[in-house]
């Protein structure tokens, strides 16, 4: 049974914050063979894919009040290394957002225009974080065409979509 480092992002989420950079920072501190025990106010589905890419398996357990405990366990060291992602280093290198946008009260498609404009100003490898009302389905293909990577998901009440965009490095 590996040793687990606890990361509790519930206070950040309750305050309306973006926990992604905190989780990635904790991940960097892990010693080889160590795992991550994450507490969140919702099931962090987008994160599972990221962690799988990093070579972590996961198991989850519902807590009271809709909260979740998720164990990220490093796969066996003998296993293949995680596949490199096509356009640059994996999300573990994502720095805290250089820009925070709250686009929740803008009329569509203004959120998309603002995110693309802000993304164009990012330095290599920098990230931006944006809050939206809806999943920006038409934005994703524009981001991908420009070589940006992104991660996003709804908060548990389904009212806010959190998007992190990283510029190509």
């Amino acid at each position: 049974m590996p040793e687990y480092i606890d990361v509790d992002v519930r206070p950040i989420l309750r305050a309306g914050g973006e926990p992604f950079s905190v989780i990635m920072a904790a991940l960097e501190r892990l010693a080889p063979g160590q795992g991550l025990r994450l507490y969140a106010t919702f099931k962090p589905i987008p994160l599972v894919a990221v962690m799988a890419n990093k070579g972590f398996t996961h198991s989850e357990q519902a807590l009271d009040g809709g909260e979740w405990e998720v164990l990220f366990t490093p796969a066996e060291t003998t296993s293949e290394p995680a596949p490199a992602v096509a356009d640059g280093p994996g999300p573990e290198d994502w720095p805290p957002p250089a820009v925070n946008l709250d686009n929740r009260d803008l009329d569509p498609p203004e959120p998309m225009v603002r995110i693309l404009a802000a993304a164009e100003k990012l330095g290599p490898g920098e990230t931006l974080s944006a809050l939206l009302r809806r999943e920006p389905v038409f934005l994703f293909s524009q981001l991908e065409k420009r070589g940006f990577r992104w991660l996003g998901g709804f908060t548990p009440d389904g009212a806010t979509y959190e998007l992190t965009v990283r510029a190509p490095s």
Binding site: P46, D105, D107, P108, P109, E110, M112, V113, L116, A117, A118, A119, E120, R133, R134, E135, P136, V137, F138, L139, F140, S141, Q142, L143, E144, K145, G152, G158, A159
Partner: protein
């Protein structure tokens, strides 16, 4: 999670659909088909199928190729099927209509055109159903479920239609004749109610909440709306076939279906009212203001149906009832949404690649709502006047209403072409460096 891109052929579907709408309007103005001719006459069949397949179904397919991927946040199963489907549907419809014309003696008697048209239409709709069905099946959330139910209804409609085509060509024997004699209401209800109405409902849920910044309708709530609608169609199709099989008459089956249909329409009205009430965007755009006239037409259609049934005059006045459903509710909604969809897709196609790198216009800068409003108002008023004239049996004034409808549609189409040509965008931001003007009939993506 992956994003949605622009469907290459959506504009081609819209353009072909509008061409069929103009043909249908020209027929009504010229007095070909209902109401001048009998409702079951070959001329009326030409008119009805030009409207329902050419105009409404092609426009719906074009919209679905763009929006089903948005509904499920997955790419289309196969983008490459869209164009062959359009070609098959167009060829099938031309053949079917030529078959009707020959049935009515307007062309030499070449009745095999009817089964040929049916086969081509089955192939075209088959491509559409498989492509959209496999896409929507991946993530059958609220609105995508409506589309799946709509596609199932489309299969039933096309199957009935294909059998009728073989019967009319004299290839189906006496059992076929009995089926044709009784089965037309099933064909019409599964087409207008199941395929077109359920699908329009599903797409409208997402488009309305997307463009008005409103939370999506609760899944459980919309599921009941869909359940009632799907039951209406299911009872019609299954119960109807059974009733024809035992030769018991359709009135019981159709009464039960009508009750479910009314419940579904009422629940849909409640859902849509909720979307309008909870919207974050207070100022309504033209397409939303005009869409309310379509919802009013749907409510009026339901009301008219109840009144006609209560007065035991439904069978005698099925024409005005269907006319209001087809032109007030379905065509009106398609025209208003087309106006918005074309503007949004044109904006995304032209300015998406340069957004954030150069100053770009807003979507609203592509449209001239003030100028467009009058064409929509002319259209809806003409439709309502036309319905009243049909009820009153004033055929000449009905043709005047059809002329007014044509004027409205010409005005709307002119606005849509101006949007596609970026004609109303101010010079300096019209084509910033790197942007390419869109083609009128397809997307350059």
């Amino acid at each position: 999670m992956i994003g949605a891109s622009i469907s290459r052929w959506t504009m081609s579907y819209f353009a072909m659909a509008l061409a069929w709408l103009f043909l249908a309007l020209a027929l009504m103005v010229a007095g070909v088909g209902y109401p001048v001719a009998e409702i079951a006459s070959p001329d009326t069949l030409v008119l009805v199928h030009a409207v329902c397949i050419g105009w409404l179904s092609l426009a719906m397919c074009g919209a679905l190729f763009q929006f089903v991927p948005v509904l499920v946040a997955k790419p289309l199963f196969s983008e490459r099927w869209a164009l062959p489907a359009l070609v098959l549907l167009t060829a099938g419809l031309v053949s079917l209509l030529a078959g009707f014309l020959s049935l009515g003696g307007r062309l030499p008697p070449v009745l095999w055109l009817l089964p040929l048209g049916a086969i081509l239409l089955v192939a075209g709709f088959g491509l559409v159903v498989v492509d959209l069905g496999l896409t929507a099946w991946l993530r059958p959330t609220g609105p995508a479920r409506f589309v799946l139910a709509g596609l199932a209804s489309l299969c039933a409609t096309v199957a009935f239609g294909a059998v009728f085509a073989f019967v009319l060509a004299g290839w189906a024997g006496s059992a076929g004749d009995a089926f044709l004699a009784a089965g037309i209401p099933l064909h019409a209800i599964s087409g207008l109610g199941g395929w077109l109405t359920l699908t329009a409902m599903g797409v409208s849920y997402r488009l309305l909440s997307m463009f008005m910044l409103s939370p999506d309708v609760d899944d459980r709530q919309s599921r009941i709306t869909l359940g009632a609608g799907a039951l209406a169609i299911g009872v019609t199709v299954a119960g109807g076939i059974l009733a024809i099989g035992v030769a018991s008459g359709l009135s019981v089956v159709l009464s039960i279906a009508a009750v479910f249909g009314l419940v579904s329409a009422a629940l849909y009205g409640r859902d849509i009212a909720g979307i309008f009430r909870n919207r974050k965007r207070r100022q309504l755009e033209l397409n939303m203001r005009m869409a309310t006239l379509s919802f009013a037409s749907l409510a009026a259609t339901a009301l008219l149906g109840i009144v006609l049934v209560a007065a035991e005059a439904f069978a005698a006045h099925i024409g005005p009832f269907a006319f209001l459903a087809v032109f007030g509710w379905l065509s009106g909604l398609v025209l208003t949404k087309l106006y918005k969809i074309v503007a949004f897709l044109t904006w995304l196609e032209t300015y998406g690649p340069v957004m954030g790198r150069a100053p770009t216009p807003r979507v609203q800068d592509l449209v001239a709502e003030g100028r467009a409003t009058k064409w929509f108002v002319i259209y809806y008023v003409a439709v309502w006047a036309g319905t009243l004239m049909l009820l009153a049996g004033e055929l000449h004034i009905f043709r005047a209403a059809a002329v007014a409808m044509t004027v409205g549609v010409v005005g709307i189409v002119r606005e849509v072409i101006r949007i596609r040509r970026l004609a109303d965008v101010a010079g300096p931001v019209r084509l910033p460096g790197g942007a390419v003007a869109p083609h009128l009939l397809f997307a350059r993506n």
